[in-house]
């Protein structure tokens, strides 16, 4: 059996940053990832990464913007860590070789982003995620960190209330393998594909969240799912917030910059939840165009668009058939980012001993009820590093315990059963029904009745999933099988989202209820916890940590 001190699951920004840090303390680090590291979804991040680098800016003001953006649900101790460590982490990325766009004085350039009081988003044109992903991957090569790519993790091995390692399918050989570890770090990314046409990759299926949840770690704040204001109609692919940061306008069918009505001070650069609601309202009140509003970049001029927004120009032309130099792009709000995830402390430790989490799959919580653009890439780096450090320290301080023998054979049995099952529905049918239900009932504006429908639908899907089949019965590179397993993860998370949302009787950040339109700090200034039980999630609540900023009214 393979054996390591630290096993990192996931090779996006959070996973690789964690592995690099862990390798400073122990050589026995391995990264497992279901796709090659450079294929990870972090590479799709366009707009940028936040840090108060300028002497005219400060980590405090970054922290305040983040707290306000979170609609006061973010834990302020964690937010202070995030913002005060940001400048050092960005400089470190730069020293590693990350490419950043530069200002005329040679320093890292920064652009304005939504909900931010200062232009503090560092970027590389609109391929920021790609350049950081490559820089970290290249550091991993330099350091010689072992990567098992195209290993699909199917479960965590838990014994005595401690995580002892993982079980994964090596896709190329088709074999099920156990990997023993003193500490496991999950860095498996988001789960927005619970919704149809999300901005995420097809592989962002919340695997780690679901694995941790099933293994006894706790999920937190799952009802907070961010809808990004600018996604393309055809398939949900993203147009970066950088497009508004560079000065783009949002227009309705009458050609009005409608944000003047909703956020007169910040206009297009209000927080994402605010902008998405505004767009949805315009569309629902009949001032949309074919289910969309427009983002107009024409006044920025061809040069700026080609230089700073080259990727989104290409995407708009390829997918929507529109060149933003000449025409506004039709866009609409789309499911984008999970503020919720596996509950961790500021060192990445989950509620399950030996298990850590970082990046989008974790909930520290720095984003609370609504994430600011540019803070997620930052979270992957700051908390990836911290989780790497804490996990390697734990691994160096404990003796290797035994791996639960039965775990591998149990998993082998579960998977062969699924492979052999003869009659039933294929998983993608269920995935589509889940997404349909989520879009209809758990969207930007929520009401009890619809959420109840969603809960019932998810329960039905859970039952049907227990009888689902795969058509590909082979072992080697069986993506029909992995798709089916991923659907199972999504259903788990959809259930936690819908139940959490139904229970939370207020409107806060991305969770906006027509039947409870106000934020209710008295009753709901608290995190939702979801514990796995065989009958679905059991909910619990936890106070928000507050340091400097008492809740205040939020307007932009």
């Amino acid at each position: 059996m393979l054996e390591y001190d630290v096993v990192v699951v996931g090779a996006g920004l959070a996973g690789m940053r964690a592995a690099i840090e862990a390798s400073k303390k122990t050589a026995k680090v391995a990264v497992l990832t279901k796709v090659h590291p450079v294929r990870s979804h972090s590479g799709a991040a366009q707009g940028g990464i936040n840090a108060a680098l300028s002497p005219a800016d400060s980590p405090e003001s970054h922290a305040f913007d983040t707290v306000k953006g979170s609609d006061y649900l973010g834990d302020q101790d964690a937010i202070e860590v995030l913002c005060s460590e940001a400048p050092g982490d960005i400089i470190e990325l730069e020293h590693m070789g990350t490419v950043f766009s530069r200002a005329s004085d040679g320093r890292i350039a920064q652009r304005p982003f939504g909900g931010a009081g200062f232009p503090r988003t560092c970027y590389a044109s609109d391929i920021t995620g790609l350049v950081i992903l490559h820089a970290l991957y290249e550091q991993m090569l330099k350091l010689g960190i072992k990567v098992y790519d195209e290993w699909f993790v199917t479960s965590l091995a838990v014994d005595d209330g401690v995580c002892r390692g993982i079980i994964a399918i090596d896709l190329k050989s088709g074999k099920l393998e156990a990997v023993k570890a003193k500490a496991v770090i999950l860095a498996t990314g988001g789960c927005a594909p619970v919704f149809h046409n999300s901005s995420n990759a097809l592989i962002s299926t919340g695997d780690g969240m679901s694995l941790a949840y099933r293994a006894g770690a706790t999920l937190m704040d799952m009802e907070f799912l961010q809808f990004h204001p600018t996604t393309l109609k055809a398939n949900g692919v993203l147009i970066t917030e950088g497009a508004r940061g560079e000065g783009g306008y949002l227009l309705n069918a009458l050609g009005e910059r409608f944000m003047a009505k909703y956020a007169p001070n910040k206009m297009e650069l209000a927080s994402r939840d605010v902008v998405s609601r505004a767009e949805q309202t315009e569309i629902e009140e009949g001032r949309g165009i074919d289910g969309c509003v427009l983002i107009d970049l024409r006044h920025l001029g061809a040069q700026k668009i080609k230089e700073r927004l080259m990727q989104i120009r290409e995407l708009a032309m390829d997918i929507a058939g529109v060149d933003p130099i000449e025409q506004p792009i039709p866009i609409r709000p789309g499911a984008h980012y999970s503020m919720g995830g596996i509950k961790t402390d500021v060192h990445g430790a989950t509620m399950l001993k030996g298990l850590y989490a970082a990046g989008e799959c974790a909930c520290v919580s720095v984003h609370g009820a609504n994430r600011l653009g540019g803070n997620s890439l930052l979270e992957t780096i700051v908390f990836g590093r911290r989780a790497g450090r804490a996990a390697s320290e734990l691994a160096c301080s404990v003796a290797g315990a035994s791996f639960p023998e039965a775990a591998l054979s149990d998993e082998e049995r579960r998977i062969s059963e699924l492979l052999k099952r003869e009659k039933g529905e294929r998983a993608h049918v269920l995935r589509k029904e889940l997404q349909e239900a989520a879009n209809t009932n758990l969207g930007i504006f929520r009401v009890a009745k619809k959420m109840q429908n969603c809960v019932e639908k998810v329960r039905e899907l859970k039952e049907r999933y227990a009888r689902a089949i795969v058509q590909d019965r082979g072992r080697i590179f069986n993506t029909d099988l992995t798709n089916a397993l991923q659907t199972g993860y999504l259903i788990d998370l959809g259930e936690a989202m819908a139940l959490g949302a139904l229970a939370r009787e207020e409107s806060r950040g991305a969770h906006s209820r027509l039947d409870f339109p106000k934020r209710d700090d008295e009753k709901w200034l608290k995190h939702t916890l979801a514990y796995w039980t065989p009958n679905g999630p059991r909910l619990g609540y936890l106070d928000v940590t507050m340091t400097k900023w008492p809740p205040a009214e939020r307007s932009y």
Partner: protein, 314 residues
């Protein structure tokens, strides 16, 4: 629209060799090839295997041969393919071992990328500054252009040289190489240029531009290769046969306006030319060895002007 696909299939667990299977499926007007094969997998054949993730041409997963040209399936439009070719033929990328259907073993490709030491190597004698290293924005064009590469391997697997010479490091690795050569923060430029100029390196490129043509991201690897070659030449890194060959070309044309094919091998290979004797003999017997002494072209003045002009434009 109803579209027909012919897709190469191979499952090592049951098939002795690859075969083609035909599919027909109803698709929306603007469907991409990726959307189509996903629909085929869901509606017709659950065993059909391929890689995909981002759907937006940024993760590099879905490279495959579409109508005999390496492309990203998520960027290729079905309607365009049908308009040009009448139907759609999908095969795995060339040169790499097939694992299953359209999934190929990418390891040899990753090994090539690793060869160019794709990480920043700052000057070891300079302490890292407390803040970021300063970079003049006017110097970043090449770094950004090469950073657009998503390592999809389209260029590498459609490269004509790599077809004949599997050791050739290939256009993607060389573009990665230029990304670091052009980075003003890097302190290993000469070391990089030397290693990129070694056999199987940049001089093996045949300048056919296939890489530039197939690149789905506009990276233009051939231009990257040209620029590292140029820099190597300027910095006096001229020991490889490739660059001697280029120099011999230049000298010959400069001297006579003609390519002297008889003296080229000697100038390129030096004494190593002895090894070519058997081939030379065969060529001689077939009357293929040109006469070493050539008369200059009639209008040498024109040639001189061309050289002057290029010199000026550099």
């Amino acid at each position: 629209m109803l579209v027909s696909f012919k897709i190469q299939k191979f499952n090592p667990e049951v098939d002795a060799k690859p075969y083609y299977r035909d599919y027909e499926i109803e698709l929306p007007e603007r469907a991409t090839v990726l959307e189509s094969i996903i629909a085929i997998k869901e509606e017709i054949d659950g065993t059909l295997s391929f890689r995909c993730s981002c759907r937006s041409a940024i993760c590099g997963s879905c490279a495959m041969r579409i109508n005999r040209c390496a492309k990203l399936a998520c960027k290729a439009r079905v309607a365009d393919e049908v308009n040009r070719h009448g139907s759609i033929l999908i095969e795995p990328l060339q040169k790499l071992k097939v694992i299953k259907d359209l999934v190929v073993d990418m390891d040899p490709f990753w090994r090539m990328i690793e060869k160019v030491k794709p990480y920043l190597m700052p000057d070891p004698n300079e302490a890292a500054p407390e803040r970021e290293r300063l970079v003049d924005p006017s110097t970043t064009e090449d770094v950004i252009r090469n950073s657009l590469c998503i390592l999809c391997a389209c260029c590498h697997t459609d490269c004509n040289v790599a077809e004949l010479e599997p050791g050739f490091v290939g256009p993607a690795a060389l573009a990665k190489g230029q990304r670091y050569v052009a980075d003003t923060r890097d302190g290993a430029t000469d070391e990089r240029l030397k290693s990129l100029s070694e056999p199987h390196g940049l001089w093996e490129c045949a300048r056919c531009f296939a890489c530039t043509q197939v690149c789905p991201k506009g990276v233009d690897p051939r231009e990257s290769i040209r620029r590292i070659g140029h820099l190597a030449y300027e910095r006096g890194i001229r020991s490889d046969e490739g660059i001697k060959h280029a120099q011999a070309f230049l000298d010959s044309v400069k001297a006579s306006g003609r390519l002297n094919e008889a003296t080229l091998p000697l100038k390129t290979k030096g004494l190593g030319v002895v090894g070519m004797t058997p081939m030379a003999l065969q060529m001689f017997l077939k009357g293929k060895v040109p006469f070493p002494i050539q008369r200059p072209v009639p209008d040498m003045e024109e040639i001189r002007k061309i050289f002057e002009l290029t010199e000026k434009q550099r």
